[in-house]
Symmetry: C2
Subunit: 263 residues, 2 copies
């Protein structure tokens, strides 16, 4: 009964080549298993923080060997979609964990660790429903005029306002979001998105520039107008590469810096 991959005979396991017999594209079994798991992840069969079935169980479910499931999960773990814990199981990744908190925030204090200065103090300046402008719509894969939620907030570290940023969220997925929710939640904002709206951010792209502080930014960050600021435009994506957040931030870099690792 166990699968005998790539064998056409009676008993054979999933026929790897049969998936799309028209295209000559060859897709390994473990890739197919991977996308099956991915579908379950997307569908919410297992929630963030929960354990997914053991490798043995999944092997039985998909009629393949444990090694094949293993390789599929290896890739998912490499993409930070799941987390393996020896002796315990494999868990759906979440932004709530201590270890990888602020995974997407690359701004670091010049000296000392980020833990030293504690969590950011969040001040929500405004939170309103608006219609998407052309560029917001484009980046969020919406149509101009679609409903979006715009949040403007200031993040301070050790009492010093350091970041001012706008968030744009598709109105559909974030119905009823409020300023209190954004400001009051304990933990990363992306963890709140998971808990309150079932939206898990998986990856993001940033475009960084140097700009001069305009009057409003200068006031919110308590710097002189014209001070150079780091402009960080981020598009964050959920599972199927669907953009779910646009963020435009302006960072003071007199006591902090944006840290990046090149491999």
């Amino acid at each position: 009964m166990a699968a005998t991959p790539a064998s056409n005979a009676e008993n054979g396991p999933a026929d790897v080549t049969a998936v799309s017999s028209a295209t000559p594209a060859f897709s390994p079994l473990y890739q197919q298993i991977k996308s099956l798991i991915l579908q379950s992840l997307q569908a919410g069969e297992w929630k963030p923080g929960e354990a997914i079935p053991s490798e043995m169980d999944l092997a039985a479910r998909f009629r393949v060997s444990q090694g094949t499931v293993r390789k599929a999960i290896d890739e998912l773990a490499g993409e930070n979609l799941v987390v393996r814990r020896q002796g315990k199981g494999t868990f759906v990744a979440t932004h709530s964990e201590q270890q990888v908190q602020y995974r997407f925030l690359k701004l670091m204090p010049d000296s000392g660790d980020r833990d030293d200065e504690g969590p950011a103090q969040r001040t929500v300046v405004e939170c309103k429903r608006v219609r998407a402008t052309a560029d917001v719509a484009r980046l969020l894969a919406l149509r101009s005029g679609d409903a979006v939620v715009q949040v403007r907030r200031v993040l301070a570290f050790g009492g010093v306002p350091t970041i001012v940023e706008d968030l744009w969220l598709p109105g559909n997925a974030f119905k009823g979001i409020s300023a209190e929710q954004v400001a009051g939640y304990h933990g990363p904002t992306y963890a709140m998105f998971e808990e309150e709206f079932g939206v898990r951010m998986v990856r993001a792209e940033e475009r960084i520039r140097a700009v001069a502080a305009d009057p409003q930014q200068a006031e919110l960050l308590k710097v002189e107008q014209g001070t150079p600021l780091l402009s960080v435009e981020r598009v964050a994506f959920t599972y199927n590469d669907a953009p779910m957040e646009l963020r435009r931030g302006f960072y003071r870099t007199d006591t902090h810096h944006y840290r990046n690792e090149l491999n």
Copy 2:
């Protein structure tokens, strides 16, 4: 003759735990194989661009199964130290390849591909031997006053000067480097370092800030003094995490942006 990593008994597979019986630290066999390969890479047993022995050969050399060698090479490939090519072999990674050229340069034109604007035009402003200041020495793991080579250059894209940067290189490893060499080499500077000095950069760390152009930067980049520029400080490392280059660059970001992917 052939290495028998950490095996005590005659026939059995290598005893994984015996490596450091004092420390309870457990090091899997494939990790040991990985560091053996890494040592050969460092020692220059195989040069950038060359093929390393086949998995079968390495398995025989180290007296382990092919699967174990495979997992070791998988990690090396994941760190971009080595490149696998099906049907051909596994090759030592190099900065000379077309595909991954400018792996460390994240500045992108706002519209269009980087290939569209062609290679950067390099102008070397100066190239001189100096003594390391305290901060340069610290970042390069040298002592203050040690000999270093400083290179100042301007990079232009499509005729527009966009980057001005200083490079500091340990004098020891880069003896005899000249302005002509830096300016005249066809291909990435890091490829030149490999060919001419046997120094291969493996990874790098960057610290990014927004600053105002000083008079000299303004002149070289043909912008107004005070224009916001992206300040990018990079330390590049060779094999054993040894820092081998410090680079301080200033980027115009009116037509380009620094692109980053968050996972």
